[in-house]
Amino acid sequence: MGHIQVPEGAPGILGPMAVSRETTKALRELADVLLCGQNTLTPAEREMIATYVSSKNECCFCQLSHGAAAAERFGGNYDLVDQVKKNYAIAEISGKLKSLLAIAGKVHQGSKHVTPDDVACARQQGATDKEIYDTVLIAAAFCMFNRCVDGLDTWQPSNPDDYREMGKIMAREGYLRPDWEKKGEAA
């Protein structure tokens, strides 16, 4: 049972978002600019970073919903998302994305863990200052989102199939849809 009262049937972050409209607007705007805004990293790559950090934080709702969004943005490739979560070093993704996931993993641990060598490695793989910046901020933001979802003990369906439709909507429409207030609507 959740730590606070939220609308029944609203999974994960959608419950708290329904009861706290003022904070929800800012959180959605942040998610949208981080994951969908204009960027040299594709939305697919950015959703993958979010998914990876959420899996390191063991947040079921976030890793499965953003994992589905990432998979849909990678053309329906759910296997790729699983590969990245298990061991991104051998996943079929670019060297640059691997180096950025390494930085994201360090941010997850605690950001003093990010070293000049981690950053140098990303630069060698072609990462720009902005891409490094965005990776750190996405990883940091998901350390926030994961804590919100788990810290309020929200209801989190555990079947990955429950998230496919949600992932399609997230991939298609982003995080600022005007009807997001609807109960149980996808993130």
Binding site: S20, N57, V136, L137, F145, R147, C148, D150, G151
Partner: protein, 199 residues
């Protein structure tokens, strides 16, 4: 040295915020709604939660800025600054309310992981009079500062140790909030020091 090229002379989060205006707006909007404005938790109390989490994350810049802002909301005296210092060391032994102590307990758990918050932590907060909104906002403030601390440290930003810089930041923030600010504007405490050494 910062991991990316940031404007020189801007401490902590100011460098990254100037670097990327499009992410700065939602970040400022979030912290504004969390820490300022009408609420059953005072601005000082909410800044204390932010400060405590930042100290637990060992983020010097954030704990210093928000600690100073909290102290300024209380009045800005040496006693107020001392209270903030004591909260960071051991909040249970300070004269803050039992409700705030219970909420800091929750915030401390969120800092480690959301999964560490127990039903007993929440029950204690409710026994001390905390509402659903106060519990929600405590979790969200703690979670948000786990983000801000990682953002500031993850880019290896410059975090000066001069207390006067943080006193100035605290005074500005307590008065003006977080939105509509010019974060490029040099702080007097930094510009004054540079003039003295002829930089």
């Amino acid at each position: 040295m910062a991991h990316i090229a940031l404007t020189e002379g801007l401490p902590g989060i100011r460098g990254p915020m100037v670097f990327s205006p499009e992410t700065t707006k939602p970040l400022c909007d979030l912290v504004q709604v969390l820490l300022t404005g009408p609420h059953t938790l005072t601005e000082a109390e909410r800044e204390m939660i932010a400060t405590y989490v930042s100290s637990q994350n060992d983020c010097f810049y954030c704990e210093s800025c928000h600690g100073s802002t909290a102290a300024q909301h209380l009045g800005g005296s040496d006693t107020d600054y001392d209270l903030i210092h004591r909260i960071k060391q051991n909040y249970e032994a300070t004269p803050i309310s039992s409700k705030l102590k219970a909420l800091l307990g929750i915030a401390g758990k969120v800092q480690k992981s959301g999964k560490f918050v127990t039903a007993e932590d929440v029950a204690r907060a409710r026994q001390e009079g905390a509402t659903d909104k106060e519990i929600h906002d405590t979790v969200l403030i703690a979670a948000a500062f786990c983000m801000f601390n990682r953002y500031v440290d993850g880019l290896a930003t410059w975090q000066p140790r001069d207390a006067e810089i943080y006193r100035e930041i605290g005074m500005q923030t307590a008065k003006l909030g977080y939105v509509g600010r010019d974060y490029k504007k040099p702080l007097q405490a930094i510009a004054g020091k540079e003039k003295k050494v002829g930089v």
